[in-house]
């Protein structure tokens, strides 16, 4: 009897567990679920927690409710308005907004990614065609990303997807163009270097010239000052002489002449050829008469 009862209880518990396993399901915080009834979408569950479904006739599919990333590994080639090629790498952030629509139109993530990347690429191509390289790289980068996001989002509504963001990662020049850019950069730097060097010698020369000028000016000014001082000395001396000699010019002439004679004839090598009839030899010829 006891044995029987335990067996029954156990069987019931087992049946209940199996039944619960078939009819109860949980939806994670990060998921959405669709309940299908014989293949037909019966219900979309967007709130996480414990849910009920009819066993056997209903089944459940889960979809990620988080933001997903579409990041293509290879860069695509785009042509700008000035017919230049650009290698562009983008990533798209998207999430499933309407699980029912999403399931109906694309079904799974791979399909959805393909669809989204087609839309984004087409829109990007169109936008790049309207802009120059310069605009794409710096000025209008933001605008392009915004426009592409909005238009891709518009399109993505059809597949129950919201495009959160479209962002440009790499915007690079193709290899062959890069090489010419390198050459240009090289040439630019060389010209900068040359300019710097000649600026260097120019400024060096300028400073040297300035130094030379300064030297000339300083010396010339000093010469000027020196001459002035000398002139002043000469003038004062002349004034002193004039003051003294002016007292008796005739005597000065006599006095000065004697001095000059003395300093002119003072050496043995000076030879004087004289006539004895000068005043000095007056008495050499005879004693003369007293008085004049």
């Amino acid at each position: 009897m006891m044995n029987n009862r335990i067996g029954i209880v156990l069987a019931c518990v087992l049946a209940a567990v199996v039944l619960a396993g078939m009819s109860l399901f949980t939806v994670d915080q990060r998921e959405r679920a669709i309940v299908f009834q014989l293949g037909e979408v019966k219900e979309v569950i967007t709130t996480p927690g414990l849910n009920f479904k009819w066993p056997l006739i209903q089944n459940v599919r889960y979809f990620d409710a988080r933001i997903l990333t579409l990041d293509t590994p290879d860069a695509e080639r785009y042509i700008t308005s000035e017919k230049k090629n650009l290698l562009v790498d983008t990533f798209v952030k998207w999430k499933i907004n309407d699980a029912r629509q999403y399931y109906k139109s694309v079904g799974d993530e791979a399909q959805a990614q393909t669809r989204i990347s087609q839309t984004v690429n087409a829109t990007l191509r169109e936008e790049f065609g309207k802009h120059t390289v310069q605009e794409v790289v710096s000025e209008d980068r933001d605008v392009i990303m915004k426009v592409v996001r909005e238009r891709a989002n518009q399109d993505a509504k059809q597949i129950g997807v919201e495009i959160i963001d479209v962002r440009l990662k790499r915007v690079d020049l193709p290899q062959e163009v890069s090489d010419s850019v390198y050459k240009r950069m090289d040439a630019e730097r060389k010209s900068v270097a040359n300019q710097l060097r000649s600026e260097g010698s120019a400024s060096s020369e300028r400073i040297r010239a300035e130094a030379d000028k300064e030297r000339e000016v300083i010396v010339a000014n000093a010469y000027k000052e020196a001459q002035r001082i000398k002139g002043e000395g000469d003038a004062k001396a002349a004034a002193a002489y004039a003051q003294a000699y002016g007292q008796n010019p005739e005597f000065y002439a006599f006095y000065r002449s004697l001095e000059a004679y003395r300093s002119s004839f003072k050496d043995r090598s000076d030879v004087l050829v004289l006539e004895p009839n000068s005043e000095f030899f007056k008495y050499l010829k005879g004693p003369g008469k007293g008085g004049k």
Binding site: N4, I6, G7, Q29, R30, E31, P48, G49, L50, R66, I67, F91, V137, E139, I164, D165, R167, K169, R170, V171, L173, V181, Y182, M185, R189, K190, A193, N194, G200, S203, S204, I207, A211, D212, E214, E216, I218, A222, R228, I229, K230, G233, A237, Y241, A244, N248, Y255, L258, Y261, R262, R268, S269, D270, L272, V273, L274, E275, N277, E279, F280
Partner: protein
């Protein structure tokens, strides 16, 4: 039914985690006892009361054990720098702080641990070491259409574990993506020289802000703590030219300095020369003036005496002067009037002989007087006498 019992028992024994040896041994003994009695040939009904009790006790214990283990599986620890997130049937229900925590066991509740405060790093443009570059990430186009090579690292922490867990698939990859796009946007809006030299800090700051904006837009719950530019340089292809330009800049400085050195050498020297000139001039002025004053003073004093007896003074001065001249020079005295004919005077010979020897005048006609070298002493004496007189006459 009776067949069922041992199977049931075995099954339970197999499932129960036998972490307590004693319990296990007890359990085995009971089972053995049961089999032994069965082998005794008694009908199932005859041994029912004791075996039932035993089975009931064993199953109860088994269930209790399983229950304990099951409940114990709800324990988990949360590290000091982490938070636990508890889900009830998949729905978020609780955020638990560090320590030993308990939740309802599977299938009712589950938990995840989110590491909050440890700093995570994303490397862009390189891996592990700046030398191991990833050109795909590091080569960028600048605003002036130059190409530049940048490596940088982004450090981040989590500011909201729930956002981090719930809103994005692979949030850590998102950081790398956001960092790449943000950096390229900032660099794309800047000039190359700005990124390379003066604007490095600025670029990193701008990029950090932009990365944070992007991550906030995706509600990743991530806070960027630092963006460090590891390296920013021109690509290898043009490295040499850039290095040369840097060198040229230094050359410029060097040349300027050399010029300045020349300046500093020349100008002070010129100043020195200038002051020498003016000093000399001043010396000259002093000298000339002093001479003039001295000479005029001498003249004035002589004049004073002269005025007292002009004629005598004149004669005396004249005679003294001529005497002095005569005594110190060679002289030839000839009466030119009396010699009407041409006179031959070998002056050069006289000059040669005037060194000390007697100079002979060869005047064929007329008187000639050639005086020998005069006594130098007398001349010196007379000069001294004159000087003495002058000194006396000075006031």
């Amino acid at each position: 039914m009776s067949l069922n019992d041992p199977q049931w028992g075995k099954k339970g024994g197999g499932n129960g985690p036998p972490d307590l040896d004693e319990l296990w041994r007890n359990f085995n003994q009971k089972l053995n006892g049961m089999f032994g009695r069965k082998g005794g040939g008694g009908g199932p009904s005859s041994v029912r009361p004791p075996s039932m009790r035993q089975i009931g006790g064993g199953a109860g214990m088994l269930i209790a054990l399983v229950l304990v283990v099951w409940l114990a599986s709800g324990f988990y620890t949360v590290d000091e720098k982490a938070r636990g997130v508890v889900f009830t049937f998949g729905k978020y229900s609780d955020l638990t702080s560090p320590g030993l925590r308990w939740r309802l066991p599977y299938p009712f509740q589950a938990h995840e641990i989110v590491n909050l405060s440890s700093v995570r790093t994303v490397e862009v443009g390189y891996r592990n070491n700046v030398q191991t570059k990833v050109p795909k990430e590091s080569i960028m186009l600048t605003g002036d259409e130059n190409i530049i090579d940048i490596q940088f690292a982004v450090q981040y922490t989590l500011k909201d574990p729930l956002d981090y867990l719930f809103n994005n698939k692979r949030p850590d990859d998102t950081v790398l993506q956001a960092a790449e796009t943000a950096f390229r946007e900032v660099v794309g809006a800047s000039k190359m020289d700005f990124v390379l030299y003066e604007g490095r800090e600025q670029v990193a700051t701008d990029a950090q802000k932009l990365i944070q904006d992007i991550l906030d837009r995706y509600k990743t719950g991530i806070a960027i703590s630092r963006v460090t530019m590891q390296n920013a340089q021109p690509p290898e292809q043009v490295q040499a030219a850039f290095d040369d330009a840097v060198k040229a800049k230094q050359d410029l400085e060097r040349q300027k300095n050399e010029g300045q050195a020349y300046f500093n050498d020349v100008v002070p020297k010129a100043r020195g020369a200038a002051s020498r000139l003016t000093e000399e001039a001043q010396g000259y002025r002093q000298r000339v003036l002093a001479n003039a004053e001295g000479e005029s003073s001498r003249f004035k004093q002589v004049l004073t005496e002269y005025n007292k007896a002009p004629q005598v003074m004149r004669d005396r001065m004249y005679i003294e002067t001529v005497q002095q001249i005569m005594s110190s020079t060679s002289k030839i005295l000839l009466d030119a009037k009396s010699s009407g004919n041409l006179l031959y005077l070998p002056l050069d010979k006289i000059m040669q002989m005037s060194g000390g020897a007697l100079a002979e005048a060869s005047a064929p006609s007329g008187q000639s007087l050639v005086e020998p070298t005069p006594n130098p002493n007398s001349a010196a004496r007379s000069r001294d006498a004159l000087r003495d007189r002058q000194r006396e006459s000075r006031p």
